[in-house]
Structure formats: C-alpha cells, structure tokens
Symmetry: C2
Subunit: 390 residues, 2 copies
C-alpha cells in the first residue's frame, strides 16, 4: 500500500468577529486530502485534514516542502512494521526532513494539517474511529462513549449589547452545554465586569470561564485577576502574551482561581517552557495546547508525555480548537475535555452533524477516522478536491 | 509618494553541504522588490530583500498575507511624519495586522524579507547607505568605517578530511579573516577533537569558535564543554536545542569560556526568554539573533532595546547571517561584529563585490540602501524581477 496523491485547497473562512487581539475577517483555512491505494467499501481510502483555526491556511508550506518530501519517499518507509497501514510517526519524520530546529509557527500548522489527514487515513484503513485507534495505542486503556465539552463564545461584535450576549449564552445552554467561555479584554475593565455579571445571571460562576486572548500587560492582568477573583469563575484564560511566562507565573501568584493557557504555543518545546517557567499549578490549572496548530497528533503525543513527566495528569489538558480533531484526541488520548465552536470557524468548527451534546458532555462519532464524512459542510468542502472520484 | 508594486520570486539555493542537524540540498531563497514611485537618478527607487539563510523562501506567506495588506493600505499611512519617505515601522505594523500573538517561525522570515526591502527603499530615498540611515536614527551616534567580522565555515561534506579542512581555513586567513568558526557535533567527539586540533595548527585558539548547531542533549553538551575547555576557544556556539534554555544555563554553569546562541530564536519575545532563563553571561557571551529570520530590522531594534534593558551591551550582539543585512545593522546599530559567508548561501551570502576584508575587519559599501547593486550575483537575481524596467 502507499500514498498515491496529496491534494489541497485553501478556502475563505472570514467572519465579522474579533476577540481582544484578533480580527478574523480575512481568515482562510487549508484543506488537504491524502489519497491511498487502499480500498474500503469499493472506494479508495482518503484521509482529510484542515489547518487549525485562527492562523490562516499554510497549504503553501505543505506544497513547497512537506508534500514533495512525502511523495518522494520510498513508500515502504512510511508504513508500520506489518506493512499494512501508514505509520503516522514515520510520515511525520519524513515531512520534517531538512527543517531547522526552533521557529515553531506556520510550519507547525502546515505539518499538523497533513498529519491530521494521515491519521484520518490510518484509522480508516484500520476501520476504526480515530479515538478508538488512538486509545488502543496511546491512551490509558479506557474507551469512553462521551467526553466533557465546553463552548467558546461571548465574542465582541459591533452593536452587540448585554441582551444579545445573554441570549447567546442561553442558546448554548439550550444546546446542552453547561460550561461557557466568554471573551474579555476587548473592552475596558468596568465594561467587561458588566458583561461578566450579565452572563452570571444566566450561568453559575463555576461554569463560566473568561478568556483574555493574551491581551494584558502584567499590571492589567493583575487588575483583572483582582477584579474577577470574587466571582470564583471556572478559569481565567490567557491573561498575557503567550510567551510571557513570567507574567503567567506572576498572575498565578496573585490569583487563587484556576488559570488556563497554551493555545498559542505551537510545539512540545514551547509547551515545555510554559511548564518550566510559567508557574502553572498541576492541581488546578488547564493546558490548552492546540493539536491542529502544533505539528499534529504525533507531536501532541510527545507533548502529553512531556506533561506527564513534569508531574501533571493528562486530564488537565483541554485542547483548544473546538473541532473534530480536538474531540477525537480528547477521547482517544484520555484528556480532560474539549472546547466546541458549533457556529464559528465553519466549516471546521464543531463536530459531526447531530452529535448528541447533553449535560455538558458530547458523544463520539461512530465513523472511521475523524468522522469528517458525518459533517456535511466540511465533507462538501473536501469532497470538492475530487480525491474520491475515480 | 507611495509603494506602487511588490514583486517576488523564489530561487533554488541548494548546496551539497550539512551541519550537525541540517541538510541544505533543497534550500530555496525568496527575493522581493518593493517598487516606489520615487525617482532617483532617472529611475524608480526599488527596495530589495531576501529571506534569511537556512529556512527556505517564505514568499508564499508574503503573497497570501503581507503583500495584500501593504497594497491595500492607505499609502499615506505608510509614510513618515514629513510624508517624504516610507516609515518602515508603519509598514511593519501594516504587515502584522490580523496576525495572532506567538508562533514565531516562518511568518518571521516572510515579514523580514519585506521589511528588508522597505528599509532598502527608505535608505535609497534618503540617499544614504543603510548603516548611515540607521546610525542617525537608532544607533549610538557613531559612524564606523569598518566592523569586526568572522567567517563561518568548517562544514561537514562527504570525503572531506583534515587536510581539506585546514586548506579551507588557510584560505579564509588569506582572505583577511582572523576569526574562524567551524562546525562540530556532526561527528563523534573524538573525531571532532581531531578536527579542532587540526584547525588549531592553523589559527590560534582564541580566534577559533565552534558551532554545534543545537545538536546536543545536556549530557553530550557538557561532555563537549569539558573536552574543549582546555583549548580556551573564542566561543562555543549553540550547544543544545535553541528553546532548551535550561540546557543553555547548565552548560554556562559548567563551562567557563564564552558561549554564543540565538540564531534560531525568531522574535524579540523568544530572545527575551533566552535572557530570562538561559543563564547567559553579559560579560562574556554572544547573542546571535538573525535579523533576516526574526521579523527584520524593526523587530531587531526592539530586540536591542530589550537586550539593553536586561543589562547587556549591544556590542555583545553578533548577528547570524553573513550577508549584507547583518553587515549593515552591525555598523548602523553599533553591534559587536558580523559573520560572513563569502562562498556559501549564494547569491545571498557575503557582502558587496571587492569589499575590503583585512585584519578581521570588513569595510562598508558606499552605496545607497543595503548595497545590493554592488553584489553582482545578487543584483542579477533581483534585477530579473523587472522592477526597474520601465
């Protein structure tokens, strides 16, 4: 068996929406299809992947560097020992040939996009949902039938007042979510406190998280921490610049509630430096590394090993992303829970159509691979690559 | 005045050459031309830039993200207060619109490529060599006529023995260099020691630096440090992984001689974390941040300010790169010295043709901008963009 073709395209996913530091109006997303010569159900197995949310399509790097390396490799060098399936770690190493150490940014997205498609194909070849495929090999032996989920929302948008914010949150509760995350830091502190208090009329404080998206300098972060401490919120996310580990540690010393961060650390090494220097507390804080932005599942498995070596439980990891990849690795690698973006970041955000969300849990797709074939808008977009038409 | 066009191309710069961790055989380099409507000497002023050495062309990111933002901007928003020249910092901010924090890798190369061309154009519009343009505004008041230089060489190549290595080093001395850097870590320790001793037959120890290119784990780094300590070499460069600041600090505690690192830290924030956590010693160590790999001159000026705030002299900065950008900023921003790559990384490596190198110093080009018009092989490559044909 072998990879016979890799197709890719970039789609526009811009939205009139922003958080404290980022405007998403020109966003793009990369889609890839890894085509194998394996046939299942009369059709070639095709693995699909997308680029992580919020950082643009990096398919150009795939085209220029990673895809040529994969297609030039001896096909056998990319297979497992039995020779009956792709070995995603071997494909990963092949992609990273002739790449310098350090500098983990856009390349991490490009590699993750292809890595996702390789794992999708491998799980499909094995005839298993990805979470089951992962759980057997890299999990802790458990095979869950649902995982904890929270919903990311509460964005800033022009003309959006407290009533609209409360209505959005009520909608999330109606949809089966129990834990809600809202944005802060895009307005002055007193206005943000009014927004938080408006939401607290709708959800209990221990079910509301707030996310500053790395906006604050140390002083402002501590001011927010002091102002929100009395609410006893679920967590306070990304108070400062993602690489400012001293700030993170200082907020940790001044704020007794749980902190969360990690979505903008795009490699195991950057994650390791957060744990070394950021003062994160293994008994209460959350780690939110984004698999689709940080070299994919192969690297995420290395990150989990690093986290455990540092004395943490992998249950403290809540991957950022809110899409099928985060759901599958949360279930398959025994992580704590997943975010959901049911409406934003389409067609990537959210899970398979009709997947049950209730009581703060989300079910798991009963489809081989990541389950893309069960998410109509995403499947329509990748089907246009024509990889299954033969 | 305004930017009327931005052109770009990618050229192949592969070489049969490797260091301890990297094979350069498929390398590419991006070239850009920022075309203005300003006329000097009867021709439009065009600023040129290239992508930093060792990380491939990232012109695709320029094409997809930065160039459209620049061309869509109100032209006046990119000018200085007087309205008579580009303001590179305003162009830089324009390029970084709608970009998330953290994740400093390929994007840093893309931005640096364009930033270089903007500074080249701005200095040409001012009618000054870039180093003079920089010295007046961001330097320390001095205008040097030469700067310290060292040469990077001593690579591994198939069939290359000690005699060939010594011959190469003698060639560098004949060319006017006095300080030589050679690669280590691509062979076992005992073989590397024989290579070092062979080179020490040709240059004094305090003029020989060694570079491991981030290859070693902590134990191996300490073993090398212990083995080379008796030689009292000029410096020991990049012993471990560029983000492993604990390793860097541990080597510093175990090695009394000077250490050097920083070429794979691609932003001010990553550089800051090296100084916060890497145990670097301001009285003896060298900082080698690469301007062409880390968001360009605007970010480099911020990095210098950060370095000085941390209690260092800017003279401890020896920028990696070995090309005209590193030369110009070393002279214009009063840094300690520059690397040179007179033969490798062509057409980017090295300085203007015939520039005097003697006694370990290199002169400065007497041309507006970076001096690209005085480097025939580079100028031929960028001239092919056709930006001056009108």
């Amino acid at each position: 068996m072998r990879i016979v073709d890799i197709r890719e395209t970039t789609i526009s996913t811009g939205e009139k929406r922003s958080n404290a530091v980022m405007d998403f109006s020109d966003m793009t997303t990369g889609l890839v299809a890894v085509v194998t010569d394996v046939v299942r159900g009369g059709r070639p197995v095709v693995g699909y992947g997308f680029s992580g949310t919020g950082r643009y399509s990096l398919n150009s790097i795939c085209r220029e560097r990673m895809i040529p390396r994969i297609l030039a490799a001896n096909p056998e060098s990319l297979l497992n020992e039995a020779g009956d399936n792709l070995d995603p770690f071997r494909v990963w190493s092949c992609m990273m040939q002739k790449e310098k150490p350090g500098g983990h940014g856009d390349r991490a997205v490009a590699v993750a996009t292809l890595d996702m498609a390789v794992w999708d194909a491998a799980a499909k070849i094995a005839g298993e949902p990805l979470y089951a495929f992962l759980a057997k090999r890299y999990g802790n032996g458990e095979l869950p039938d649902r995982v904890p989920v929270y919903v990311g929302g509460g964005y800033y948008a022009p003309g959006r007042g407290l009533t609209e914010l409360q209505d959005e949150i009520r909608g999330h509760l109606d949809d089966g979510f129990t834990i809600i995350k809202m944005k802060i830091g895009g307005a002055p502190l007193d206005e943000d406190l009014r927004r938080i208090e408006a939401v607290l009329e709708v959800v209990p404080a221990d079910r509301l998280a707030v996310d500053a998206n790395g906006r604050f300098e140390t002083g402002e972060a501590l001011a927010y921490a002091g102002a929100i401490a009395p609410y006893r919120l679920r967590w306070f996310e990304e108070p400062g610049y993602p690489l400012d580990f001293d700030l993170q540690a200082e907020v940790g010393r001044g704020y007794d509630g749980p902190l969360a961060t990690g979505e903008n650390l795009m490699s195991t090494w950057d994650a390791k430096n957060l744990l070394r220097y950021g003062g994160m507390r293994p008994n209460k804080d959350y780690l939110q590394f984004d698999c689709a932005l940080s070299y994919g599942i192969c690297e995420y498995i290395r990150t989990i090993a690093m986290v455990e070596e540092a004395g943490w439980s992998r249950r403290r990891i809540y991957p950022h992303g809110g899409h099928l990849l985060s759901l599958q690795i949360t279930a398959g690698l025994a992580l704590g829970g997943t975010e959901a973006y049911p409406k934003t970041h389409q067609p990537v955000g959210g899970f398979t159509d009709g997947l049950r969300i209730a009581d703060g849990y989300v079910g798991l797709p009963d489809l081989p691979g990541l389950g893309f074939e069960g998410k109509a808008n995403f499947y329509r977009a990748v089907k246009a690559l024509g990889a299954e038409d033969r």
